[in-house]
Amino acid sequence: MSTEALGILLAEDDEGHANLIQRNLKRAGIANEVFHVKDGQEALDYIRRRGPHAGRVPDKPLLLLLDINMPRVDGVEVLRQVRADGGLANIPVIMLTTTDDPREVQRCYELGCSVYITKPIAYEDFIEAVKRLGLFLAIVQVPAEHT
């Protein structure tokens, strides 16, 4: 397999959701490394290599999968901070949430999210979005475990 050029940071407080997302990514043939954090604060620490992630070596570009409702710092705040940070402004961000409130959706797009996907996930759409975003970031394709 080729080098994993894109790392996926998944911020999701619900273990089940995180598990399902990872299974579906894998099943869709996306073999990129997925790093799972439990809330927005940890996501920011990971991105900025602070706190528990201070020693992380930034070896690849990141794609963010953010849940909105999370303890401490929510997904929208992570998105806002990332977009406000000049060095991080280009990171692709997929908002992934149970909220389909049009205002919430609009707010996320205004803040600069790349894709907004409503759970329960139509995983096909989700995979499609991840792939599209990762196309130019050299997503590594692996054979699907299931069709």
Binding site: D14, G16, H17, L20, T99, K119, P120, I121
Partner: protein
Amino acid sequence: MRRANLTILKKGLILVSVPLLFQLVFIGVLVWVQRASWLLAGGTAVSFACAFCLALVFTRGISGRLATLTDNARRLAQGQELAPAMSGSDEITHLDRVFHEMAAELARSVAALRDQTTILQSVLDSIGDGVVVADEHGKFLLFNPAAEQILGIGRTDAPPEEWTQQYGVYLPDQVTPYPAAELPLTRAIRGEAVDGVEQFIRHAKMPDGVWLNVSGRPLKDKDGRARGGVVVFSDYTSRKRAEQEIRKLNDGLEQRVAERTADLAEANRELVQKNRENEMFVYSVSHDLRSPLVNLQGFSKELGLVGQDLRAMFADVGLPEPVQRRGLGLVDGEMAESIRFIQAAVQRLSDIIDALLRLSRAGRVEFRCQQVPVNGVVARVVESMRSTIAERGAAVTVADLPPAWGDPTAVEQVFANLVGNALNYLDPDRPGVIEIGSDNAAATAAPDGQNALQTYYVRDNGLGIPEPYRPKVFQAFQRLHPGRAKGEGIGLAMVRRTVERHGGRIWFESTEGSGSTFFVALPVAPGNGSREGCGPNGSPLKQRREGHVNGSAGHPAGRG
């Protein structure tokens, strides 16, 4: 009187006797000069004596009657009865008769005058209004008992400039002494007519004071010269107090109305707040439910996929036939069935939660109100249902529909729901007929001076709504014919919420077995100061009261 008589008698005697004396002296001189005969002298003496007697008698007759006349004049002056009328026909008798006539005339006049005075006096004594008359110098000529009773002080010798202080007269502010020059009686004396002047009277004898209503007129003599003034006044303290009481009550009433209004506004704010909280609650609960549901949904799908893997494994050759059969039986049978049930239940739960979210959003979504061409909106709705209409073989007629004021999307949803319901609940036993129209007469009837509403209707000849179900028509999750159409039973609940937020009303008439008519009244123009929704009534409280949804009461079922 006797002395007078004697005087007259003496005067009469002198009058008679003096000429006689002169005659006697003259005769004596004649006798002395001409030495007339004693006979002549004797005759003269006799005639003298006769003349004297005659004079005496005559004098006595005249002077007696004159005395009677004099006496009568005195009696007349003193109001006594006159002496009987004289008899005869001479001048004195005539004079006496005229005198008697005059006396009688005078007596009649005096009696009439006395009667009149008595009447006037009793009137002045008995009326409740105070009457005070003063001459041009301010001296009281009349001060009736009512005046004294009302003022608490009677007639005094005080000059006009002291009346204010003397009688304790104040301006209506009850503290400023009444300007003396402006007192109604003073003005009347000056020649002015005064009407309805309000005065307050308070002094030591009447510490609580009384209110007067005073009118005055100048008194003029027959030549038009001012000779004083008259005032008439009444005590209207009780009326004044009643007025003050009424004013106080009115003020109290206004105060209470203001308080009540404030209470209602507060209650309204609370309701709005509560409503918002409720919707937020529904919203957050729905989301909280959704999160585990995502797991159920996702992992049941995973189980299905695992089942497929297992199936592939069991189908693989190399396993003992009984194991393979048993394995495939479990995977395709019980396991697949369980997963199907789980997924069906999850899907149902998911639909309900989605419906709840839509419902809560119907109460939260912001309307962008404008003139809505209902004609176009309904045409789009009907067009979008073209295939269903054809499928059901229904005839849909749309009348010309006037525009409304509202959110175009929301209005479209309302009509889509109503027309969709009409289509869904047609009676399969007869050709379906659906009419969409407007009730023009209702546009002018604006309740409570609010903005006018335009009433539209969607009428069908479908199954109709049974009586027991009618109160529940607009409640969420109520489905009358669960098998006939998909949905969670929130359509009409959302429609009601939407219509009410527009400041409109929705109600229906229905006869089971012959069809239903749903009426929607929407505003025709922007409301005033509406914050929530965009109807004429800004407050949900008002909406609730005036836009009350009424299923059956007040709208008799059946269209005949």
